[in-house]
């Protein structure tokens, strides 16, 4: 039985912001951001975030105390992340940041930081403050919702002044960090809306036991996500090409992991878009695309050690010892190439942030299509931002006067996700999402036959 809230979560942010506006458009307090503030906040090193951190204040519905704790935790980590972003933007060449699009993004970040500064030294102690804080979070998410398209446009316009390599490096770091900031903000908002005090205020519906903790679904079934994405992308295909390929799921379709549905849905959609397009353009739409779902067991050494450890505290020690996968700062964009010597070793000094245990079950999803593969020339540019082999004019009319630029595609297809391809961001961004929590994407092309894509995801681990 799907509650309205779960659907709301799945569909994104729209409903929440609507509700917030319904409360009343209270003016969000801001404070002026000085260079000193930015420097001070950016001087703090960033620690990698794990999914467990986001869940640690307990399952929902959260009590008041937990909610306030979460708010304070969010408050402690967000401002410095924003400051890092601002500094990173500021170290781009002047002429690039002078571009109106890039400039807009810069100002967005400064604005967001200004909404958080009033809370700078204070703790959130009351529910009222918490509500205001949540509004600030909502404002943050809203402001930055279109960053990618705008940034892409900006960089394209400024391409004479900055090399593709620099753009890739900057975007790699920036977009990964962006995933983090949005996640923290959205998590808090989601937890807020499913908390007890909120219920009491809203006099709301009875809240049933949900597998969700904020934006994290602890019982996420990748197979059902694959089917959902198959439908979405399939419809676009039918509109554009008149045919749609099918998907065959093998392996363990009933596998579940704990992860963020929105992220995985984005990655799967992008990968399926690529597969479907290739399949149709190669004329192989009768052949099903094979998706294999493989849940990962614990490693041998760990299982052996766990069996040997009888008591609980011994088990904990075993799990700690096998915590191989400390998520690196690079994965989460927390190393500022721009800020220079801010880099500290990947060891969390705060007790709040634990390394990802090696015991976290994960899942690998393999997508095999027969779309002819990726040509060797394109293969080199696969992970560049803004590289695409999609040429709309080729398909629609043959009288186009020499290729269109990605700019046209962006402005043309800016209407939303109804275009099948063209931004050139799907793969690199998909990889950023996958790698954010220690997973990854690997692409293996069989030129002349098809492509295999391996998407590996790590989950949350034990949520106590």
């Amino acid at each position: 039985m799907l509650s309205l809230r779960a659907v709301a979560r799945h569909n994104g942010f729209a409903i929440r912001s609507h509700r917030l506006k319904a409360i009343g458009t209270r003016h969000i307090q801001t404070a002026t951001v000085t260079d000193g503030d930015i420097a001070r906040l950016a001087a703090k090193p960033l620690h990698p975030l794990t999914l467990a951190d986001l869940c640690k204040f307990g399952r929902q519905p959260l009590s008041t105390e937990d909610l306030l704790n979460n708010a304070n935790f969010t408050l402690s980590i967000l401002p410095s992340r924003l400051a890092h972003r601002i500094q990173s933007l500021r170290s781009l060449p002047y002429i690039v940041v002078a571009n109106p699009n890039v400039n807009k993004i810069h100002n967005n970040y400064v604005h967001s930081l200004s909404t958080l500064l009033p809370y700078a030294e204070r703790h959130i102690e009351t529910l009222e403050e918490e509500i205001k804080f949540t509004e600030a979070m909502a404002d943050l998410v809203q402001t930055h919702s279109n960053t990618i398209a705008i940034l892409a446009k900006g960089f394209l316009e400024a391409r004479k002044y900055i090399s593709a390599k620099e753009v890739t490096a900057f975007l790699d770091e920036h977009l990964r960090a962006r995933i983090g900031t949005r996640l923290i903000a959205e998590q808090h908002i989601a937890l807020h809306f499913s908390s007890q005090p909120h219920h009491e205020l809203q006099d709301g519906e009875q809240h049933e036991d949900s597998s969700y903790i904020g934006v994290i679904d602890t019982e996420l079934k990748p197979a059902s996500l694959v089917r959902t994405c198959e439908n979405t992308v399939g419809e676009i295909c039918e509109l554009r090409y008149g045919v749609r390929p099918t998907i065959k799921i093998v392996g363990s379709p009933e596998a579940t992991i704990a992860h963020i549905p929105m992220h995985i849905e984005y990655v799967l959609t992008e990968l399926l878009k690529n597969s479907f397009r290739a399949t149709i353009e190669a004329g192989m739409e009768k052949e099903p695309i094979e998706v294999t779902i493989a849940p990962a067991p614990a490693t041998q050494a760990q299982t052996a050690a766990l069996k040997a450890a009888k008591r609980d505290d011994e088990r904990d020690q075993v799990l700690q010892k096998h915590a191989v996968g400390v998520i690196s700062n690079y994965d989460q964009g927390s190393v500022d190439a721009a800020s220079g010597g801010n880099y500290k070793p990947d060891v969390a000094s705060s007790p709040n942030i634990r390394p990802l245990e090696n015991s976290t079950p994960g899942v690998t999803i393999r997508i095999q299509d027969r779309g002819g593969g990726i040509s060797p020339e394109n293969h080199a540019k696969l992970w560049e931002y803004g590289f695409t082999t999609f040429n709309e004019d080729e398909i629609n009319d043959k009288t186009s006067s020499g290729g269109i630029t990605a700019l046209d595609v962006i402005s043309g297809g800016a209407g939303g996700g109804s275009s099948l391809a063209g931004l050139g961001y799907g793969l690199p961004l998909g990889r950023a999402y996958a790698e954010y929590f220690g997973g990854g994407i690997a692409v293996q092309s069989l030129w002349g036959w098809g492509t295999d894509v391996y998407l590996s995801l790590r989950g949350v681990g034990r949520v106590d």
């Binding site: 493989a294 760990q302 191989v324 690998t364 293996q444 036959w449 295999d452």
Partner: protein, 368 residues
């Protein structure tokens, strides 16, 4: 090797290898320029002798590397092994190619200007088998035949080791089955053999005697290369092992490997072992064209002893060795593991035959 840290060479295995190379160098530099066929024959016997002597190099090096891992970091060990093996391949290829050409030249049915003889007396004139061979290189390696042959070998080895009631997974071929490309048969058979063997072993060990899922081999042909994909459902590769997959200096399983390496045949390089491997080479070569049979009988390839070891002898070298062989002719070998499910291996072979051999760059060769 002289630039390696002293402690490396005090290891007996590496020391032995160094001595071998030094002796070979001394021998070769004394060979005068070749002017006559007689000189050539003498040179060939020197080559032959040296090749036989050096057959034990690979296992010795591997053992040595495993032992000195503590003094010299694993990265440096890997680089050392890779460089040494690559240059070794190139030397042996040149040597064996010359010997093979020599054989063909001297063989009784080789008449450079005679019309091609008919095979089996059938009416249709097919090209003589030896036209498909230029020395060691088989111009028409058929991917399908290769895979089937390696599959048969691997299956029989596994059956012998685990007992005949163990269910061995079937190997299903799909894709462009008629693909042919020029390559050195022993190299490519080694690579595919190792990969298939790993797959079969993984599946057998995971599933036991119940109906095992088949191993799918896909052959994909493009203008410039041939890709062979081997997918199995053998449970994938353990996370602990994954970082050390391609390394000669293994992580957690070092000591077992060391013990196993010590028992590999050919290590002692006695005459008996040479006999054993000769007969094995013969049986392996039975399905190859007859002229090739003659050629390969005369010098046992060092790879055959490694390929014919029993499966419980885990040497930990199959993958890194295969990678070196694959990359030697500008190809590549990659592995993707679906943990808990299975593994996909992708072997890419350049088929133009015009790519230069890939040795190390000058810089890293000097470093070694």
């Amino acid at each position: 090797m002289q630039t390696l840290p002293y402690s490396a060479l005090t290891n007996e295995h590496i020391g032995h290898v160094y001595e071998l190379y030094y002796a070979a160098f001394e021998r070769f530099r004394k060979v005068p320029e070749i002017h006559t066929l007689v000189d050539n024959d003498k040179f060939c016997s020197v080559l032959n002798h040296t090749l036989k002597e050096h057959l034990s190099v690979i296992p010795k090096l591997a053992m040595g590397v495993l032992e000195i891992q503590d003094q010299i970091g694993p990265d440096q060990c890997d680089r050392l092994m890779t460089t040494l093996l690559r240059s070794r391949i190139s030397r042996r290829v040149i040597a064996e190619q010359h010997l093979a050409l020599n054989e063909t030249f001297n063989s009784p049915w080789h008449f450079p200007n005679a019309p091609k003889p008919k095979r089996d007396g059938t009416a249709s004139a097919t090209t003589a088998a030896e036209d498909d061979f230029i020395g060691e290189i088989f111009l028409k390696c058929n991917a399908k035949d290769l895979v089937e042959k390696c599959a048969a070998t691997a299956t029989s080895l596994v059956t012998k080791a685990y007992g005949s009631d163990v269910a061995v997974p079937k190997i299903i071929l799909q894709g462009h089955l008629d693909t042919t490309f020029p390559y050195i048969p022993s190299h490519i058979e080694y690579i595919i053999g190792e990969l298939l063997r790993n797959s079969i072993q993984a599946v057998v060990e995971q599933k036991g005697t119940t109906e095992p899922p088949p191993i799918e081999v896909l052959i994909c042909e493009a203008q410039q290369h041939v890709i062979i994909r081997i997918s199995d459902q053998g449970g994938g590769i353990d996370r602990d092992i994954l970082p050390h997959l391609w390394s000669f200096a293994k992580g957690p399983r070092r000591h077992k490997r060391l013990r196993n390496l010590a028992t590999v045949p050919r290590l002692k390089a006695t005459m008996q072992e040479l006999e054993v491997s000769k007969s094995q080479t013969q049986s392996h070569a039975s399905s190859m064209p007859s002229s090739a049979n003659e050629i390969s009988k005369n010098y046992a390839s060092s790879l055959s002893s490694l390929s014919s070891r029993p499966p419980e002898l885990r040497l930990g070298m199959g993958l890194p060795m295969s990678k070196i062989y694959a990359e030697y002719w500008a190809g590549s070998l990659e592995l993707h593991s679906l943990e808990g499910y299975g593994c996909d291996a992708f072997l890419q072979i350049s088929r133009l035959g015009n790519k230069n051999e890939v040795l190390s760059t000058r810089a890293s060769m000097d470093a070694v």
